[in-house]
Symmetry: C2
Subunit: 492 residues, 2 copies
């Protein structure tokens, strides 16, 4: 196919209402990056903000006919560059498709992909129901983006991840057809599990225009434990001992650098000397919650905790959870940040956390690590001064070394944020060539012309084996974009 972007633009303008089509460069600028701030972001041809499945179909049909790539976009809070604009491509933002309809009888919600996770939660709560998945960014991230990345969060340790709650999606395929996969049936095994394949596909297989999610009855008020530890090992030992026997509704970890950043921001009196802190919650019924928290406290003490504090006051407990949720913004105050998302099998959590500390020391950079500890999913945040080019290079080296370490420990390069563009160079190392080739076969089967989010997750068809566009290379150097560092979102 001969790509004809000019014709794409012309046809889009002719086919869609004017308020849907944005071509003003200044207005388009807000749609070039997600929170990963990929320095390799292209300048889009056009930004489209459709309001219906039919409009999305119109866009895809025109793009497909003219070979113009499309980058789908939710709220732009992605952390792996999955919504980075590509040069002269279409950015398709679903932010205006944000209706929410709860059906309390089927205990499901149908939402537009642009609805925010927090809005879905609130709509469910109005019926005494709960949508569990809770990325730390739940107040600002879109449900469509959650489904596209199979997002996780804090409650996943007990309640699972996004895919466990997706019952149905309406998806516009690469040829512009719209199909409904799944629906309000709680069990359905008729045909291949296509819906599950689309969940987590990061916009590379189709564009979601509606999602149907399972809700469960409202969570019970949790009881909370906060425990501090003198060493990383003591904390990760406690995590292992807890997860072997129990299913807390939250089991979060913060290291010393994270504790201090949060304490700087909150002045809530956290122990700045502690090597690590765990926050655990139980939402069991009645007195069982306190019993579970008491058992967790006993395990923490047996693992050498320096201090434990339990509370069944929901507000007091929530204050600690808020502290954990604000860890990323608190660390972003310290400088520019490279945000990691590596996970390991639980028994290797201690090796990962101590290995990350070694990588930080060796590269002379600050790495603040927080973790959804009960899932073995960590977020090491590498802090860097954007004006210090030597440190910047060491930070990028550390970024790659953390992923290499995770792979060596049998872990994954991304537990919940997605591969996007930033982590694509490491995907082959993680998956191996055979599984990578299977990924490409599926991509080719569903998007043979490669117009959907090209370069995200998988190298575009025909690309050289090396990463084809400006991004972090596996060696940790910054390529393209005039050598700019990845800035923090506030700087964009």
């Amino acid at each position: 196919m001969i790509r004809n972007d000019a014709r794409t633009l012309e046809e889009l303008v002719a086919a869609l209402p004017p308020e849907v089509v944005i071509t003003d460069p200044a207005s388009m600028d807000a749609y070039r990056w997600d929170r990963a701030n990929d320095p390799g972001a292209g300048v889009p041809l056009v930004v489209i903000r459709p309001t219906s499945t039919e409009e999305v179909q119109t866009v895809v049909k025109i793009a497909a006919a003219n070979g113009t790539p499309i980058v789908p976009r939710g709220a732009g809070t992605g952390l792996s560059g999955g919504s980075t604009a590509v040069h002269r491509g279409i950015v398709l933002s679903v932010d205006r498709m944000n209706t929410i309809e709860v059906d309390p009888v089927t205990r499901t919600v149908i939402a537009g992909p642009g609805a925010l996770n927090a809005q879905v939660k609130a709509a469910a709560a109005a019926h005494g129901l709960w949508y569990p998945p809770d990325p730390s960014s739940y107040e600002i991230c879109s449900i469509g983006g959650n489904v596209a990345t199979n997002a996780g969060g804090l409650c996943c340790v007990k309640y699972g991840v996004t895919t466990d709650y997706v019952l149905g999606i309406t998806v516009v395929l690469a040829d512009g057809r719209a199909v409904k996969l799944g629906g309000p049936r709680l069990k359905d095994v008729a045909g291949l599990s296509l819906m599950k394949l689309f969940v987590g596909s990061e916009g590379t297989l189709g564009i979601f225009t509606e999602v149907q999610l399972r809700l469960i009855p409202a969570q019970k008020q949790p009881t909370t434990l906060v425990a501090t530890f003198p060493t990383l090992d003591a904390a990760t030992d406690a995590v292992l001992a807890i997860t072997q026997k129990m299913r807390p509704s939250m089991l979060e970890f913060m290291d010393q650098a994270t504790i201090n950043a949060v304490e700087d921001a909150t002045k809530m009196g956290l122990d700045r000397e502690a090597a690590a802190m765990l926050i655990a919650q139980s939402d069991e019924a009645g007195s069982a919650a306190l019993e579970e928290i008491t058992r967790i406290e006993e395990i923490c003490n047996a693992s050498g905790a320096s201090e434990c504090y339990a509370t069944d006051d929901p507000e007091e407990g929530e204050a600690f959870v808020v502290a954990r949720r604000m860890a990323i913004p608190a660390i972003e105050r310290l400088g520019a940040v490279l945000l990691e998302d590596v996970g390991v099998p639980l028994p290797r959590l201690g090796d990962l956390v101590t290995g990350i500390a070694e990588i930080a020391a060796r590269n002379e950079v600050t790495i603040a690590t927080m973790a959804h500890a009960g899932d073995g999913n960590t977020h090491p945040l590498i802090v860097l001064d954007p004006t210090d080019l030597a440190q910047q290079e060491r930070a990028h080296t550390a970024y790659g070394e953390v992923m290499d370490l995770a792979i060596r420990l049998g872990g994954t390069i991304t537990g919940e944020h997605g591969v996007g563009r930033l982590k694509r160079p490491w995907l082959a190392d993680y998956l191996g060539e055979d599984v990578l080739e299977l990924n490409h076969r599926i991509k080719n089967a569903l998007d043979p012309d490669g117009i959907l989010n090209p370069g995200s997750v998988l190298a575009p068809a025909g690309a050289t084996p090396a990463p084809a566009q400006a991004t972090l290379s596996p060696e940790g150097s910054v390529e393209g974009a005039e050598g700019s560092v990845l800035p923090t979102p506030g700087e964009q």
Copy 2:
């Protein structure tokens, strides 16, 4: 490719230990059918009982080179004909690949596909852990078959289905390569969700040689409620009212025909006059279980239950669950059985159950309906006298009408048993042409020569649109196999 079965046989005999290769027709006979007893079953070329991933790879490579189809097989308890032998094909039985290894630290189990579900449960229980999915046939069905069909069960209403517990699979692809998808990482979003695609693929995309499953802490002792109702509507009204507010760990339904068949078999004193019976359990902690059961009892009474009986004695409660589990064998005593597996969105459960009763009356056949009511997943069992050809024809008409009804009500033709060969003629009606075409695209991408379980789920490549082999047609008549009825398993 020119198919050469003779060369396949020759090469298999040369490449594999003799005890792995079965060619004796009498011995092969046991591998021709699963519990669906498809009258269209072919006579296999050879039955292979491998003991390792490498042996499976050898089989697939030889089959692929010579164009010989392979039907993978677990314990042969499938209810949709997914393991029906195809003419002159290989039956690959994984029954000897049945190792089980529990890792209590990662809280996972690695099992050979031939291990029985009950054996996996027992191995987990030895470590105080629990593998929840519990098909009624859990004592005789294989875990590989469970993963291949994304099997359900009784506890799914609270604990989800098989796919929710699969963390990793080793799969031999159609070209003989073996790949590992997933692993002991509780969160992992690196690359497309291939593992989830393979779960439920019924042997059409690859052959599982190892599965890794998530375990959770042992279930608490449940409290049980049994409620009987004078009408079907009263019972399904109660189901809706319960599921809107609560998450019982079991919510099962039996209609009058089922109650009577079970009472015939057990003489446990069930109310033969009741139109329907519900069995609910709560496994909440401590006193919360009885509180939940009390609320359920209140709802049942408000919906017009004629009698409610609650017990926190686990053995007494289990007796009712055993009664429910033996419902299928109890009904099989009444005659040959056509077993259905239709599911609907919960608000349509009442319409489905009463609609099935109307179909039974109109066609003058007995249909006994039991249901995983909390999931909207029903099992109508159509009973027929194999010697009464007119009744047989009416039964097959009813079989199709039940699926047509489910589709009209927004439901699925199979909630947990799979499409296999028996339900394939209805798949297009259910999925629609676009989604069916997507299924074929994925199948073609992963098995371009169509050697894996051809004719199961999807029509073989090049087949005419009408069902290509002897099975039930959508019109309900029996084709092929000399017009024989589907016999009950005991008759095989």
